[in-house]
Amino acid sequence: MTPLRLNLALAALTAVLFVLSLLIGPAHLGPVASIRALVAGGDEATRIIMREIRLPRALLGLMVGASLGLSGAVLQGFLRNPLAEPGIVGVSAMASLGAVIMFYSGLAGASLYALPAGALAGAFLAVIVLLAIAARHGSTLTLILSGVALSSLAAALTSLALNLSPNPFASYEIIFWLLGSLKDRSMTHVAIALPLIAAGGALLATTGRALDAFSLGEEGAESLGIDRRRTRLFVIVGTALAVGAGTAVTGAISFVGLVVPHMLRPLTNRMPSSLLLPSAMGGAALLLAADIVARTAVRAGELNVGVVTALIGAPFFLWLIVRSRREIF
């Protein structure tokens, strides 16, 4: 498939899922009335439902999915490791921990704006620790084990922080932070996350050339005129911004960044750079689809979208490990 065709197909898929996401909900509005209310306004209830409930949800699915898909593709390229992914390597969990500490300690009051600061700090810490361990002793096993350790530690500390909160609801929010959700997000969440995700995405998108060169290892990349330190910095800051900001508003969503680059790689020439844009769009499509499933799978209430992505991603992950076990050990 030519890159143009692939990108057009993914763009079309993402657009369809975005619209579908806007049309799904417990209120029965009808597709035409929904879109009209979204664009032109209309009666109060429909307008509020479309603009204040469904639009932010669909936008966040798009943005966060894209950031996860993109950062998965970048991490895989940079670490030359097909199992790297922000969720598996613990970046998402650490971002959650950062957000949890910042928010529930009341450091910045009960404000949503406190969330990204903590999440970014957590994500930064995770990426730096990860690259320090895994990029130096670059075996797949080391990477996965570091990720497991980091994720477990972050999950334990998240639970601890929430249990220590005097607010009785806090301990029930563990599930949100560990298995994210897009439920009832508002445009405030979009406004908080969008600039940071955009900045992180832009940084990650500039690494394509370097990632291609990294296919030849670090020395090979340097031989091709790649500034290894600068690439490393861009990957760290970009991943932390993109994943941190997303996690701050949706909780940790795993496996999107693993599954998407893998499914799309065979459709490209396998250069890391040609996987970036498709992975961003594919990530958006996957998260939008997973969120639609999360809303429609069970009649009473809805699932956490992280549950759906984990149900897709975890078996996939196992299959990848089985397939490449010689390489790992």
Binding site: R80, R209, D212, A213, F214, S215, L216, G217, E219, G220, E222, S223, L224, G225, I226, D227, R265, N269, R270, M271, P272, S273
Partner: protein, 264 residues
């Protein structure tokens, strides 16, 4: 043309390359020989500007340290010893990476780029593999594909770290013949080797290294004497000549009286 003066490299506060000065001449192949750990790879990485060193390095009269990463990559190509191919890229795409320092943001391939890649693949006898995923090739094929990548970079200076190790005898010759063609085009080549005969027959000059120092420098026949081989490698070598040059065959470990008795 690449010149180094009083080049030293410390890795983890251990001196790995110690006060080496050298000048490599365009149109020649210089072979670097020395036992494992002599500092050959480190010397090459320092000359490629990849690790910090003291002393000075100049390429075509320009200080290496003053150049940007991209400028450096347009002057010096480095073929690392570690043969890393991370994704199942086709041979053509992989060799095409060599053109990266010359390409703009869009990374579009010009006809000139394609021609250089084809030429490099032919030189390394991998043109027939162009559409194969590089990860599925044999070790020897991968070595030649990676060398073709470095050749496609089309730089005045090429530093090749053990390009011939692991190749079958025929492809060792192919590799060296390819490098000779580059030299004939006026390129400056520095090649580290472990095969003494290969070095003696295909290189114009030899640098002999031991423990980070330059022990000897000169034409193969001058440098690769039985005495020096004993000193530097600790081996006893049978040395012969034919029309094409020297033939060196290590026959025993050097040591004690056996060494003296066996001397020709």
């Amino acid at each position: 043309m690449i010149e180094a003066r009083n080049l030293s490299v410390d890795l983890s506060s251990r001196r790995v390359v110690s006060g080496i000065s050298l000048g490599l001449v365009p149109g020649t192949i210089t072979g670097v020989l020395g036992p494992n750990g002599a500092g050959k790879s480190t010397l090459m990485r320092a000359l490629a500007g990849q690790i910090a060193s003291t002393g000075s390095i100049a390429v075509d009269g320009r200080e290496l340290a003053s150049l940007s990463f991209a400028e450096r990559a347009r002057l010096v190509a480095h073929l690392p010893q570690a043969r890393i191919i991370s994704w199942p890229l086709t041979v053509r795409d992989l060799v095409g990476l060599g053109r990266m320092p010359w390409q703009g943001v869009s990374r579009a391939f010009s006809n000139g780029d394609r021609a250089l890649c084809t030429e490099a693949m032919e030189m390394m006898d991998v043109a027939g593999l162009a559409e194969r995923p590089a990860t599925e090739l044999s070790g020897g094929e991968q070595a030649r594909v990676l060398a073709a990548r470095a050749i496609a970079q089309d730089t005045p200076v090429l530093l090749a770290d053990e390009p011939a190790s692991g190749l079958d005898p025929a492809h060792q010759m192919t590799m060296m013949a390819g490098l000779r063609k580059l030299a004939a085009k006026g390129r400056t080549l520095l090649v580290s080797l472990h095969d003494l005969t290969l070095a003696a027959r295909w290189c114009d000059r030899i640098l002999l290294m031991k423990e980070g120092r330059l022990v000897a420098e000169g034409a193969p026949a001058d440098v690769l004497t039985a005495e020096r081989l004993g000193e530097v490698f600790g081996i006893l070598a049978h040395i012969d000549h034919d029309a094409g040059g020297m033939i060196l065959a290590p026959v025993a470990l050097a040591g004690g009286t056996a060494h003296r008795e066996a001397r020709p």
